[in-house]
């Protein structure tokens, strides 16, 4: 608010405006919550990458050590087949992060391309695309994802596709909105007047300026996709054993809720912490980047 009084309404419009990244980083670093989020995310990424190297085989069964409570030998205990829960959570981190990040990336690539084109050209392309988007949005996310996963069959790839497709309409809407707004700005009309090609305008002028909105959308979408993956896996529509996923671990933990509650605890905490990390990161980035704040 105070910022506003001092610097408000002093926008230079002569060149393509871009956020100054150093400043962005500095502002980001001053937010302890955002930094916590970054640490959590980086932590889980490292955990996912290093876990398989450092920890025991997540699929190694040990019938002599079934349903053991956490101990030094098994930090988070063992599951119903005597497998090390810690190693399985590390393995699950990989699945979760892959599903979260890849589905969101896929959704962004498809959604931004379509959104920019429809927002830029408008006309009948826009009408048709928006009808399709409306229809897709008419389906509650989980029903859509469950249906798609059931049609495609259960596998990690299909979960990623199902989650990505479910996210696309939202991305299209955002990209379209940004394209329509930025298109009207002076530096774009200038470029149009200079005879720049449509593709150049869309991807050199409009896209970079909408980047803030896209990054914010990504940080909202990734944790949602991570939870989505866990949910689909929990329903048996996600990755399949022996591959482990946090959702699957929770499915089998449900059977042992009374006997071995820790089986339900740790994978859930892992999901929550990862999602929390991305949400914190997202909140931080939104504060730093969100164009809405300066509007």
């Amino acid at each position: 608010m105070s910022q506003k009084l001092i610097t408000a309404k002093r926008k230079t419009v002569s060149s393509i405006p871009r956020p100054r990244w150093q400043r962005v980083v500095r502002r980001f670093a001053r937010r302890p919550m955002a930094v916590t989020g970054l640490i959590l995310v980086v932590g889980f990424v490292l955990f996912a990458l290093l876990g398989p190297i450092l920890l025991s085989d997540p699929n190694q069964q040990d019938f002599a050590a079934i349903l053991q409570t956490p101990s030094l030998a098994h930090l988070l205990g063992t599951d119903d087949l005597g497998r090390d829960v810690f190693a399985r959570i590390a393995n699950g981190a990989r699945v979760s992060l892959m599903a979260g990040v890849m589905s969101t990336a896929l959704a962004l690539i498809i959604g931004i391309t379509i959104g920019l084109i429809t927002g830029f050209y408008r006309g009948w392309v826009d009408v048709i695309v928006m009808r399709i988007v409306d229809v897709m949005l008419a389906f509650p996310f989980l029903i859509f994802a469950v249906g798609l996963a059931a049609i495609l069959g259960a596998s990690l790839t299909n979960v990623i596709i199902a989650l990505a497709v479910s996210q696309v309409p939202e991305v299209i809407r955002i990209a379209r909105g940004e394209a329509m707004a930025i298109r009207e700005q002076e530096f774009v009309s200038g470029a149009v007047a200079d005879g720049a090609r449509d593709g150049t305008i869309m991807f050199r002028y409009i896209a970079p300026n909408a980047m803030g909105a896209f990054i914010v959308q990504a940080t909202v979408a990734i944790p949602a996709a991570i939870i989505g993956e866990a949910t689909l896996s929990f329903l048996g529509l996600g990755v399949q054993p022996p591959m482990s996923s946090w959702g699957i671990m929770l499915t089998s933990a449900q059977q042992y809720l009374a006997q071995a509650p820790y089986l339900a605890l740790f994978p859930g905490i892992a999901i929550a912490l990862t999602a929390l990390g991305f949400n914190l990161l997202g909140d931080g980035l939104r504060d730093v980047l969100d164009p809405k704040e300066t509007r």
């Binding site: 087949l81 048996g236 054993p241 059977q255 809720l257």
Partner: protein, 516 residues
């Protein structure tokens, strides 16, 4: 190889099981006070399909039928035939082509209309002719039904078929009220009327089916309850929890892992070794399956040797199933007495695998229905088989699709069970015979075909038992199927006594009473 030598351990284990299996009419250990009337709430593990005996297919529907829809025959603890609506056991002619059945007299359907030979004929004809009848195949040998008089019918068969009695002890023998059939036709299942201790009241889809005590039932003096409500609760943990809180009186198919805790909480738990089996069906047609298992008996044997059935039982089922290597349940009278299974021997298995000359590890794609227990079983088998040189990949597919794939022969190995029948014919014919609809393994062996069809036409029990023994030996040589175990089912009882839970694992509430 199935050796016919006596093994003390195995038999001892089996007889121990039998002791617990055969615990028929439920003991009521606590001296609880009996309450007059009341409605027993029973939790089923799944929602039954339509309550029309001609088309019904689910196991849970069979459970519900016992409340309101009696059959010509029923089975006892050894899965032997006993009369229910029939007055006596069927009388088969010397050539085996005519079967006479005497009916009980003076019995009324739950709508008050009389039960008689005409009604039986109408039901059986419907079973034979309705397009969507699932009973057609079961009654394939039945050519025609003839009303001899008010209380006698004569069945004419196209070939001698001794399992007929067993079929009439199942849904095919459940007699429907002709009046109700007339009114409802195809929709009989929406308001079914038969002979039974209870009468259908209503059904709340997805939730429950309600029955009230019948006024017309012949044994109505024995019926103490005012009614029975069957609720559908798919999650076994929740069935157990509701039992503990006395929200329900009976819960079917509880988790083995919950049993001890339930006992401690004062819930009575009865168990029965279910008549069905679980097994690994191997595709034996090399044109359909690319796995070396398809063409090599030795490798199939190696696979069996790699599996520690007892460990599987301990780890996945808390020691509560009955490991076995034949399809016939232990309580079945026709089961050969001297079955010896191939024991777990990983060294022998590894030796066989290495001797096969195939490139190791040997790939096997294991098709499984995507259900938690199946997945866990598959994971354990995967580890065991991989230990000796196989490379098992698990392919979980949603149940119905898995059946599709199984039928199409699109698999290397398929983890699939069979719910079991009262008569051994139902556990082997069509499942192991050439061209059978459920012969997923694609096995085609004329000796097996002959033995199974011969056993069905012979009436004498010892002779049948012997023929099935020979068939099982031959099947063991070919190994189209690695039988794993028979499930043990647990029935939890809270504040109820007098529940019958016998060898067919179907709880009956005719004589049940609520307690305080």
């Amino acid at each position: 190889m199935l050796r016919r030598t006596l093994n003390i351990g195995c038999i001892a284990a089996a007889s121990l099981m039998l002791v617990s299996c055969a615990s028929t009419p439920s003991a009521s250990p606590s001296a609880d006070e009996v309450v007059a009337g009341g409605i027993a709430v029973v939790a089923l593990s799944d929602e039954p399909d339509t309550l029309d005996p001609t088309v019904a297919n689910t196991f849970v529907a069979r459970v519900v039928f016992t409340a309101f829809c009696e059959k010509l025959y029923d089975s006892n603890d050894s899965l032997e035939l006993v009369p229910q609506l029939a007055a006596s056991l069927p009388v088969t002619s010397a050539d085996g082509l005519t079967v006479d059945i005497a009916l009980r007299e003076g019995i009324l359907f739950n709508d008050g209309t009389p039960f008689n030979a005409d009604a039986v004929k109408i039901t059986l004809d419907r079973n034979l002719t309705l397009d969507t009848s699932s009973r057609k195949k079961e009654l394939a040998a039945l050519q025609s039904v003839e009303v001899v008089d008010e209380n006698n019918i004569r069945l004419t068969l196209s070939r001698p078929f001794s399992p007929l009695g067993a079929q009439l002890a199942d849904r095919a023998g459940a007699i429907m009220s002709p009046t109700a059939l007339e009114t409802l036709g195809l929709d009989f299942g929406t308001d079914p009327v038969c002979v039974g201790p209870f009468d259908f009241t209503d059904r709340v889809p997805g939730s429950e089916i309600n029955f009230t005590k019948s006024d017309y039932y012949y044994d109505k003096d024995l019926v103490k309850l005012d009614g029975v409500t069957y609720k559908f609760i798919t999650d076994p943990n929740i069935r157990a929890a509701n039992l503990r809180s006395s929200d329900i009186n009976v819960a079917e198919r509880l988790n083995a892992s919950d049993v001890d805790q339930l006992d401690a909480d004062g819930v009575d738990v009865l168990d029965v070794s279910a008549i069905g089996y679980q097994g690994l069906t191997i595709n034996t047609d090399p044109t359909m399956s690319s796995s070396p298992l398809a063409s090599s008996v030795e490798l199939r044997k190696a696979f069996e040797l790699s599996i520690d059935r007892d460990a599987l039982n301990t780890v996945v089922f808390a020691g509560q199933t009955t490991p076995d290597c034949v399809p016939l349940p232990k309580q079945m009278a026709f089961r050969p007495d001297d079955i010896q299974c191939t024991d777990f021997d990983s060294d022998a298995a590894r030796a066989l695998v290495e001797a096969s000359g195939e490139t190791l590890p040997i790939p096997v794609e294991l098709l499984i229905p995507a259900r938690p227990t199946d997945q866990k079983t598959a994971e354990v088998i995967q580890q065991m088989a991989n230990d000796v040189g196989f490379d098992v990949t698990i392919k979980p597919v949603e149940f119905v699709s898995a059946l599709d794939l199984g039928r199409a022969g699109d698999f290397d190995m398929f983890l699939i069970g069979w719910s079991g029948r009262m008569d051994p014919d139902g556990d082997m014919n069509d499942l192991l015979t050439t061209g059978g609809t459920n012969n997923y393994s694609q096995m085609a062996d004329s000796e097996v075909d002959f033995l199974i069809s011969e056993a069905a036409s012979v009436t004498e029990t010892d002779a049948r038992q012997d023929l099935y023994g020979q068939a099982l030996d031959r099947i063991d040589e070919i190994k189209p199927l690695i039988y794993l175990y028979h499930d043990t089912w647990f029935l939890g009882l809270a504040d109820i006594t007098g529940v019958e839970y016998s060898a067919d694992a179907i709880p009956r509430f005719k004589t049940a009473e609520l307690t305080k």
